[in-house]
Symmetry: C2
């Protein structure tokens, strides 16, 4: 395999857009016809719920795979159904890989070093015992949390470098309450800029031919001014930019996360694409039966908007 950032850049070029569809399969929002068929007879069990998540995720992947370079799989919506849900998470990642996509495991893990090493094996592949590899999720990258600092991050970076995978470290998140933590002023500099400087430091030795590192950053699309500052601070970090659509970021906002050549960022939309059949403007034209068509149109619309914005 090649360097993660190079593979991502190539996938973006091949598909002609830097868009990512987020798989956040909230069971309750999954279209009823698919849900009822995949669940089988009531009462609903964890196994049946996992079957629904698997069927929906794989079907959505099939719709978006020809259109975008990457998907992001949100582990939480699978984990809530216990071990069967966890199996559906693994199966979803495997299906997306079979369809040729770059897959980001959105797990936001982080711990002290020895524990982060175990999480890195779990989500960046390569659980190895006595020289034999027992497990590889197959994801190309995962999201991680910087609260523990460098030695909590290092095992993920080491695993990424060793296996040509990537990490996206949380820097600036999309949620409204983030400011009271991430925007605390640390000697005149917002806390998230301090974290950004650390991420830059952690990643600058691991830059690929594309000019980007396998140590990337999660940078909210909803905070364009901050994204611009972070872009300058971290010129070699690929940005994963969530928040497009349902969370309020539009093309004019997310464009700030890109470099001058329109590269270096991957814009992600989850609910606005995945559940487009239940949202304006698609809800009138489509309904739960034709949800695939709504996903396809919403993906096309996102791709067109982002392409127009980055020029």
């Amino acid at each position: 395999m090649a360097h993660f950032a190079d593979r991502l850049a190539e996938a973006v070029e091949a598909k002609g857009n830097p868009c990512c569809v987020g798989l956040d399969p909230l069971l309750e929002a999954i279209p009823a016809p698919l849900r009822d068929e995949a669940a089988g007879p009531l009462p609903l069990t964890c196994e049946a719920a996992a079957n629904v998540l698997r069927a929906f995720s794989c079907a959505a992947i099939d719709v978006v795979a020809p259109k975008v370079p990457a998907v992001k799989v949100q582990a939480a919506f699978y984990e809530r159904f216990g071990p069967p849900g966890y199996q559906a998470y693994v199966d979803t990642v495997a299906h997306a890989k079979r369809r040729g996509l770059i897959v980001i495991a959105d797990v936001k893990r982080g711990d002290i070093g020895s524990t982060s090493a175990a999480y890195a094996e779990a989500h960046l592949g390569g659980t190895t015992v006595d020289g034999a590899e027992l497990f590889d999720l197959g994801a190309d990258a995962c999201t991680i949390n910087p609260y523990f600092g460098e030695d909590g991050i290092e095992p993920f970076v080491r695993q990424a470098v060793r296996r040509d995978r990537g990490v996206f470290v949380l820097v600036r998140t999309t949620n409204p309450g983030a400011d009271r933590v991430q925007n605390l002023s640390c000697k005149g500099v917002p806390f998230f800029m301090r974290i950004g400087a650390l991420v830059h430091e952690w990643g600058r030795q691991h830059v690929g031919r594309s000019g980007y590192s396998c140590v990337g950053a999660v940078v909210a699309g909803t905070q364009p001014i901050d994204a611009e500052k972070l872009r300058r601070l971290m010129p070699q970090a690929y940005f994963l930019v969530p928040g497009f659509g349902a969370q309020g970021a539009g093309p004019a906002e997310v464009v700030r996360a890109f470099d001058a050549r329109g590269r270096g960022a991957l814009v992600s939309a989850s609910r606005s694409v995945l559940f487009a059949h239940a949202r304006a403007p698609y809800d009138r034209q489509f309904g739960p039966t034709h949800w695939r068509e709504a996903v396809a149109l919403a993906t096309d619309a996102m791709v067109a908007q982002v392409r127009a914005a980055i020029g």
Copy 2:
């Protein structure tokens, strides 16, 4: 059920000590005789590895259950073996509950609100669809990460309040690299103290009869001066104090996390107890065959040291 902090305080009183054994079952450190027997014929698979984790975790729980009020189950060491490992995590929590222990799911999850709600269902129980509960891990509490701020924390707190469970929010961690993040000066106050103030605010409306909240804090035993400051800042937060033993905190350090009456903290040791058979002073007397005796003695020693320190 009663309020989480009250149940924890009662369990501490019933056992006569505020100690917690951390189940961090690194497969490679598990005594060979148990490992070989539980794994069955080679080659080792994820299913076999999960059987080893389950057998070892349950056996360790059986040893410590009469001695301590609580165990902490570290999800990462199970997750690295994929879905079978995740099943062993669930089974370990269930076994500890059957043995009457307070169980802390050490998962350090955290995300934007809608995603945190899914994680809260996954680890604080109560995945409910159409009014029916499909999954309850059964843990009494879980650890969470504050990077997202209040709206990332709130779904966990809500679930904890609703189901008489608890959360421990990361405030000050034990690892050497934590300082460059957690000790950043924010207008003259260390970042971790800012987080501590937020945790106090999030928890003060949820205080039980014991005087403690179901919103607790992870406070490193290895940072006694910080623990003392945080104790004053957060008088109603139960502290989960990791780092006793292998990570370097002794009785003189962890005692700073307790209130004036010797209450309000739970001291946790993982490797120094779990793998005592391979560590001084127990490695000479015991070996891999008699690891249970080593766990028992190491637990007794920890209990005696912590009791003596808090008086």
